[in-house]
């Protein structure tokens, strides 16, 4: 039985007001299409978690979806700030709770969640103000050496949205290029939506099982959404739209411009196809060149 549904149906079924939501992807494979659909469906009071909130959470904060942000680096790399995030934290418009870790801390929280352990151990944070700002960063004593080590609590989201280059209809998903913390986030989550550039036959997955990052058994919905990560990217499919990341500095700095952006590109389109139609030339400009590796022998 196929799990393939439209983005509208996947978000309607699996993302609820008040949920703890993870849209992961470290620079690579950040699924903007899902974030836009959550905005369009008017979800409220979400606890948004991610290492790098990136532009998509900046948009969701501006659109009023977020009650709380759990993160480790909130900037626009190489381009500036996430101004909607900054307005929320600096001026309270709109109000936003924050819970802050380092990257390693966020990765560790998801690793604990994925392993269904209540915490994860690391050597970190000594001497810093991070445990002062966030009392959920604690310590544990090693039962062998007596050493005191840092801990972070498990993160177990209600729903995690992961982008992948390809999956079969059961959600067995393959990813190459940067892997980020997607596997851990998906296994930590109660529900998982996989959004793919390409739906493939199960035989394609089975031909190269070492590439599978997410097994279908943990996936609730598969959405086929080519170019769903723009302005983020999908290795082998399309490049990162660095120009848009630079442009965001200007857009997000001005609440009116940001509002106009949402009107034009989120509320003003009904799905990703319409979004692409509103960005003429985009696919020609960013389409990936071919650099295909050789296969390996799985025979015996």
């Amino acid at each position: 039985m196929t799990k393939v549904v439209s983005m509208q149906a996947a978000i309607a079924a699996h993302v609820r007001d008040g949920d703890t939501v993870v849209i992961e992807g470290f620079t690579h494979l950040i699924n903007f299409a899902a974030g836009h659909e959550i905005i369009r469906q008017g979800r409220k009071n979400l606890t948004l978690c991610r290492l790098t909130p990136d532009l998509i959470y900046d948009q969701m904060i501006a659109a009023g979806c977020a009650k709380k942000l759990v993160f480790s680096w909130a900037g626009n790399p190489g381009a500036g700030s996430l101004h909607a995030f900054r307005r929320a934290v600096e001026k309270g418009t709109p109000p936003l709770e924050i819970e802050e870790y380092s990257h390693f801390g966020m990765v560790a929280r998801m690793s604990a969640g994925a392993a269904r352990l209540p915490f994860w151990v690391m050597r970190n944070y000594m001497g810093t103000d991070l445990p002062v700002a966030n009392p959920r960063i604690r310590t544990v004593t090693c039962p062998y050496t007596g050493e005191v080590l840092a801990t972070v609590p498990a993160l177990n989201p209600d729903v995690t949205i992961i982008a992948a280059q390809r999956a079969d209809q059961n959600g067995n998903a393959q990813v190459w290029g940067l892997l980020g913390v997607q596997k851990e986030a998906a296994f930590a989550s109660k529900r998982v939506i996989v959004v793919v550039e390409e739906l493939v036959d199960e035989s394609v997955i089975r031909a190269d099982p070492n590439r599978t990052l997410i097994p279908g058994m943990i996936v609730d919905a598969v959405v086929v959404e080519p170019w769903g990560c723009h302005p983020s990217y999908a290795q082998g499919h399309y490049d990162r739209d660095n120009d848009f990341y630079v442009a965001w500095e200007d857009i997000s700095r001005d609440p009116a411009k940001l509002e106009q952006y949402l009107k034009d590109y989120v509320y003003g389109v009904k799905d990703r196809a319409e979004y692409l139609a509103k960005n003429p030339g985009l696919t020609d400009r960013l389409k990936a060149k071919a650099q295909v590796c050789a296969g390996v022998n799985y025979g015996f």
Partner: protein, 246 residues
């Protein structure tokens, strides 16, 4: 200038945890000159990257294509960084104090910040675990205050305690590379001491831009100006669009 000076710190074959911006320029300059076998690791998971363009972010696709290995971020932080495999880490920051402690979190009060900065990212753990850390930061009084608003990444001494007492494996920040001179950590006190200045810069220039009573080494080195080769590589090959060069 800072990129060129930072590049000279890198030895061939070293394993470097690369941040975005100037550290990335410095590493690629070093690869083009004295350190062709420098191993660049990005926190995004690219190991042994050979970017054919200047990556705008540390997760750029050009870091993956042709790299030696791509691994999960759990592996980056546990198997490479916490394992002690990173020889050099680069850090920058809005504020750097006398012990090389860094603030990248907030200006003002944490609960009601005047300016909300991005936060730690991987900086806190790089500061703990990299075998040595190089700080790159432009010199001005706001960036080098007597007191940090927030301590994000640990330096040589945190709130009166040494790295050793706090159980940190790496040597921490050993140099602060600025646009006027170089500070180095004193092996005993951990304090950052001015040890070299750039051509045309006076000690008073430097001191006026530091918020504490900066110690100055008796014998000050003069930093060699970037060579024609260094400048040519930086301006025409590595950052032709001047994304990071002033």
């Amino acid at each position: 200038m800072m990129a060129a000076v930072a590049a000279r710190e890198l030895q061939n074959g070293e394993v470097v945890f690369v941040g975005i911006g100037l550290p990335n320029l410095a590493c690629n300059l070093a690869r083009a000159l004295q350190a062709p076998e420098l191993v660049l690791i990005y926190e995004s998971g690219a190991v042994g990257a050979v970017p054919e363009r200047l990556p705008v972010s540390i997760g750029d696709p050009s870091l993956v294509t042709g790299s030696l290995m791509v691994c999960s971020m759990a592996d980056v932080f546990q198997l490479f960084l916490q394992n002690g495999k990173i020889e050099v880490g680069f850090l920058g920051g809005a504020q750097v104090d006398r012990y090389g402690n860094i603030n990248t979190t907030v200006i003002g009060n944490y609960q009601k910040p005047k300016v909300r900065l991005p936060g730690s990212g991987g900086a806190a753990e790089i500061a703990v675990h990299a075998q040595r850390v190089l700080i790159i930061s432009r010199l001005n009084p706001r960036a080098f205050p007597a007191e940090l608003d927030f301590l994000t990444s640990p330096g040589q001494r945190c709130k009166g305690q040494s790295r050793r007492a706090l159980g940190m494996p790496g040597a921490g920040p050993v140099k602060v590379i600025t646009d006027k001179g170089i500070l180095e950590s004193d092996p005993v006190s951990g304090e950052m001491v001015l040890t070299a200045i750039y051509p045309g810069v006076t000690v008073e220039d430097v001191k006026a831009n530091v918020g504490w009573d900066l110690r100055v080494r008796d014998q000050l080195d003069l930093v060699t100006a970037p060579s024609f080769v260094e400048l040519d590589l930086l301006r025409h090959k590595l950052d032709p669009q001047k994304l990071y060069l002033g």
